[in-house]
C-alpha cells in the first residue's frame, strides 16, 4: 500500500517534537501512506486515496483529490479530535498537502466562534485569572464593536 517516490525521505517515525524538525511549509510531500491509528477505517481509506491521487502528475487529478478530501471531511463532520490526530500524523509523515487539508478544516471550525466557542471546540481550559480576563477584554473592544 505504500507508494514511494524517488525523492522521498524516510519518514520520521520516532520523535515528532525534535527542535530541529523543519517548519511545515518546507516539507515536501511524500507519497507514503499515512497509517493513522484511532480513526475510522472509512477515513483511513479516504486519506489513502487522497495520497495516491495527490501523487499524480496531472494537476486536475490532484485538484479533484483535494476537493474530494475536503468534501468528505465536511460531509462526515469529522470531529476535532480526529482532525487533530490526522494533522499530527500528516506532519510526522511530512505530507504537506494532507496537513494543509486538515489544518484548513480546523481553521474553518474556529472561524466566527466566540471565545467560549473556541474553548468548547478544543476542550481548552481557561487558565486566565479573572483580572487577566478582564484586562484582555479591555484590550480588544475595538474588534467587537459593530
Amino acid at each position: 500500500m505504500a507508494e514511494v517516490n524517488e525523492t522521498d525521505q524516510t519518514p520520521n517515525l520516532g520523535d515528532s517534537t525534535t527542535p530541529s524538525q523543519p517548519k511545515p511549509e518546507q516539507i515536501t510531500t511524500t507519497n507514503v501512506a499515512v497509517p493513522i491509528p484511532d480513526v475510522g477505517p472509512q477515513l483511513q481509506v479516504v486519506v489513502d486515496e487522497f495520497i495516491l491521487k495527490n501523487g499524480s502528475s496531472d494537476e486536475e487529478v490532484r485538484t479533484a483529490a483535494r476537493n474530494d478530501l475536503r468534501d468528505f471531511i465536511e460531509r462526515e463532520e469529522i470531529g476535532i479530535t480526529t482532525l487533530l490526530v490526522v494533522v499530527k500524523y500528516a506532519h510526522e509523515f511530512k505530507n504537506a498537502d494532507l496537513l494543509d487539508a486538515f489544518c484548513e478544516r480546523v481553521a474553518d471550525l474556529i472561524k466566527d466562534k466566540k471565545v467560549v466557542g473556541v474553548r468548547e471546540i478544543f476542550g481548552i481550559v481557561n487558565d486566565f485569572t479573572p483580572e487577566e480576563e478582564h484586562a484582555l477584554r479591555d484590550e480588544h473592544p475595538w474588534a467587537f464593536e459593530d
Binding site: 515528532s16 517534537t17 524538525q21 517548519k23 511545515p24 511549509e25 518546507q26 487533530l84 494533522v87 499530527k88 506532519h91 496537513l99 494543509d100 489544518c103 484548513e104 480546523v106 481553521a107 474553518d108 474556529i110 472561524k111 466566527d112 466562534k113 466566540k114 471565545v115 466557542g117 473556541v118 474553548r119 478544543f122 476542550g123 481548552i124 481550559v125 481557561n126 487558565d127 486566565f128 480576563e133 484582555l136 477584554r137 480588544h140 475595538w142 474588534a143 467587537f144 459593530d146
Partner: protein, 234 residues
C-alpha cells in the same frame, strides 16, 4: 490541544492566508487561553492581516509597534473615517427622502382635488342628461302628471343644456387624464422614495469594507492562498 506549538501556528497562519480567519477570530482566540494568546499575537499573522485589510499602509523600519497594535490603530482610524462618511451620506439621503415625501403629499392633494372635480362634473352631467331626456319627452304626449313634472325639470335648468353637456364631457375626460397622470407620478415618486430608503439602510458602517466587497475579496483570496504560502519561504 495535544499539538505542538508549530502546528498551532501553522493552523493559524493557514487560516489567515486563506482569509478564513479574521482579526475578530484572532482576538477571540487570544482570549481563550494563555498559549493561544501567545500564538495568536504573532507578527506574521497580523502583518498578513495588515497586508490584506489595509494595504495602503506602508510599514517603515521605524515601526516599533507590533503589527497587531498597528492593525488596531489603522482599524480604528478607518472606522472614524467611515463613520463620518456614513453620517454625511445619511444626512444626504434623509433630505432626499424628505423631498420625495413632500412631493408625494402634493400629488396626493392634487389627486383628491381632481377626483372631487370629476365627481362634481359627473353629478352635474347626470342632472343635465335628465333635463335633456325630459325636454325630448315633452315633444310627445304624456299623462298630465308626468308632463308637468318634466316641464318643471326643463324650466328649472338655467344653462344651455346641449352646450353644457359637451363642456362637461370634455371636462370629465380631462380630469381622468390628469388623474392617471397623477397616479403615474405618484408611483414614480414612491419608487424613488423606496429606493432612497433602501440606500439609507445600506449606508450603515461595516468594519473593513462593505459586506459585499468583503465576501468577494475573501473568495478570491481563498484560491490564491496556496500560492501565497508556498512562495513565502522559498
Amino acid at each position: 490541544m495535544s499539538l505542538p506549538d508549530e502546528l498551532w501556528r501553522w493552523i493559524l497562519e493557514l487560516g489567515v492566508n486563506t482569509s478564513c480567519l479574521t482579526y475578530k477570530d484572532l482576538c477571540c482566540i487570544s482570549m481563550s487561553c494563555r498559549r493561544l494568546n501567545r500564538l495568536s499575537k504573532e507578527d506574521v499573522l497580523w502583518s498578513k492581516l495588515l497586508f490584506f485589510d489595509f494595504p495602503a499602509h506602508v510599514s517603515s523600519s521605524t515601526d516599533r509597534q507590533s503589527p497587531k497594535s498597528i492593525y488596531q490603530i489603522r482599524f480604528e482610524k478607518d472606522k472614524v473615517k467611515k463613520l463620518l462618511a456614513e453620517r454625511r451620506a445619511v444626512l444626504r439621503i434623509e433630505s432626499r427622502i424628505h423631498e420625495h415625501t413632500r412631493k408625494l403629499h402634493e400629488i396626493e392633494g392634487r389627486l383628491v382635488d381632481e377626483n372631487e372635480k370629476l365627481k362634481a362634473a359627473i353629478d352635474e352631467l347626470k342632472g343635465l342628461r335628465r333635463v335633456k331626456e325630459a325636454s325630448t319627452a315633452l315633444k310627445v304626449w304624456q299623462p298630465e302628471i308626468i308632463h308637468s313634472r318634466q316641464k318643471q325639470i326643463v324650466e328649472n335648468c338655467s344653462v344651455p343644456v346641449g352646450f353644457r353637456i359637451n363642456a362637461l364631457e370634455m371636462e370629465i375626460k380631462l380630469c381622468k387624464q390628469h388623474i392617471s397622470g397623477f397616479l403615474r407620478a405618484r408611483k414614480d415618486e414612491n419608487d424613488r422614495l423606496e429606493a432612497a430608503k433602501e440606500r439609507l439602510s445600506k449606508v450603515k458602517y461595516h468594519p473593513l469594507q462593505s459586506s459585499g466587497l468583503d465576501d468577494e475579496s475573501r473568495n478570491s483570496r481563498k484560491s490564491t492562498g496556496n500560492n501565497l504560502k508556498r512562495v513565502k519561504h522559498e
